[in-house]
């Protein structure tokens, strides 16, 4: 009788563990490779630019946005910055707006300005915050780049330094989206 009870308890414990594991695995699969935010509205934020103005992401609705999280101390970020400058030049007329979000410490403002000037960054640079970083998955490392379609939804992301082609492909995909909210208003 006692042995029956123990066997039943063991089976029950095993089944419970398997159910718990199965529940945990669902969101993980969704997070994997394509990015948790893909297809979802890009988390909105309002941040200060280097010259003290305010930029709200949702104000760029109707444009494709390349949202590049970077820092002055990040060597791979420095490598990809010229590509991003080129993309802004090349696709700006078609509706691309690059937005750089510096994740440097608040005290490093002068370094950020100097870096932006030396790298000829031709797009708004915002001073990032931990909250904004968290809303984009925590930004465990830099560079991390999100691509937002004209409808405000995330169309892709690039983690780390990959290549100019990867970025350009993502820019084209974001530009190909349509702003459904504007069409509905018309």
């Amino acid at each position: 009788m006692k042995r029956t009870f123990l066997v039943l308890v063991a089976i029950l414990a095993g089944v419970t563990l398997m159910i718990f594991a199965a529940k945990k695995i669902k969101p993980t699969a969704a997070n994997n490779s394509v990015g948790a935010l893909r297809g979802a509205p890009a988390p909105d934020f309002e941040l200060k630019t280097l010259d003290g103005k305010t930029l709200k992401l949702s104000d760029l609705r109707g444009k494709a946005v390349l949202l590049n999280f970077w820092a002055t101390w990040c060597a791979p970020c420095k490598i990809e910055t010229p590509w991003i400058v080129e993309l802004q030049n090349q696709y700006g007329a078609q509706g691309l707006q690059v937005v750089g979000v510096s994740m440097d410490d608040a005290s490093d403002g002068e370094d950020v300005k100097k870096f932006a000037s030396e790298m000829h960054m031709n797009y708004p640079i915002l001073r990032g915050t931990e909250d904004v970083g968290n809303s984009y998955g925590g930004l465990e490392f830099l560079p991390t780049t999100y691509f937002v379609g004209r409808d405000g939804n995330v169309t892709g992301r690039v983690l780390g330094l990959k290549g100019r082609e990867d970025m350009e492909e993502n820019v084209k995909r974001a530009l190909a989206t349509k702003d459904s909210t504007q069409r509905a208003q018309k």
């Binding site: 066997v7 089976i11 563990l17 945990k24 791979p76 780390g160 330094l161």
Partner: protein
């Protein structure tokens, strides 16, 4: 035969229960492991751990009070990562630096860093960065004051570093560093006395 049959049935039931528990535990371990490594693997397939730096050895040196002594702190950087040296090649790079807390009994002197390795990475093959990878040793000069009582003293500080891998960089971190020094008295000086003549006091 009946008893044997019952025992076999119990054996099978117990085995089945153990298999179910084992499968449950394996599933749980796998899920937790996958969750921890998702972002790292997406970035660099095959890499599992984070970009950590750890203090692997700090000897307990005996240092004579009033005199300087050196403590070699050996650090280890997780495989697949590098950190900037104390003299990075680029302007905005964050140097690896050890900051020791001031103490009232022991003066912290010069901190000696090893030279970095000049390495070109996949992301910038034409540009060499000055980095540490694997193990590196930082030497700390300490000088206990003359007035310090002999004994063990704890020294505390932190190592600031900023790690990268071949395609990305991680935010700067501070590693708490703690080691001990044993302060000893200066050995009594033995004056050389010439052998005295047995007739000296006679």
């Amino acid at each position: 035969m009946g008893t044997f049959g019952r025992m076999t049935r119990w054996g099978v039931a117990t085995l089945a229960a153990l298999v179910v528990v084992g499968l449950g535990l394996a599933a749980l371990v796998k899920v937790l492991g996958v969750q921890a490594g998702v972002q790292a693997q997406e970035l660099s397939p095959g890499k599992t751990g984070g970009p950590s730096v750890s203090l692997v050895s700090a000897p307990l040196p005996s240092i004579t009070r009033g005199q300087p002594g050196n403590v070699d702190l050996r650090f280890h950087i997780a495989s697949g990562y590098h950190i900037n040296s104390n003299q990075p090649a680029e302007e905005f790079m964050i140097p690896t630096a050890l900051h020791m807390d001031a103490t009232t009994d022991i003066v912290i002197g010069k901190i000696n860093y090893p030279a970095g390795l000049d390495v070109a990475f996949e992301f910038a093959p034409e540009q060499k960065l000055s980095v540490y990878s694997g193990n590196f040793t930082v030497g700390v000069t300490v000088r206990p004051l003359h007035t310090v009582l002999p004994g063990k003293y704890a020294m505390r500080g932190s190592l600031k570093y900023q790690a990268c891998d071949n395609r990305s960089c991680y935010p700067p971190k501070q590693l708490p560093v703690e080691f001990e020094v044993r302060v000893v008295k200066a050995p009594v000086a033995h004056r050389h006395r010439p052998p005295q003549s047995p007739h000296a006091h006679t």
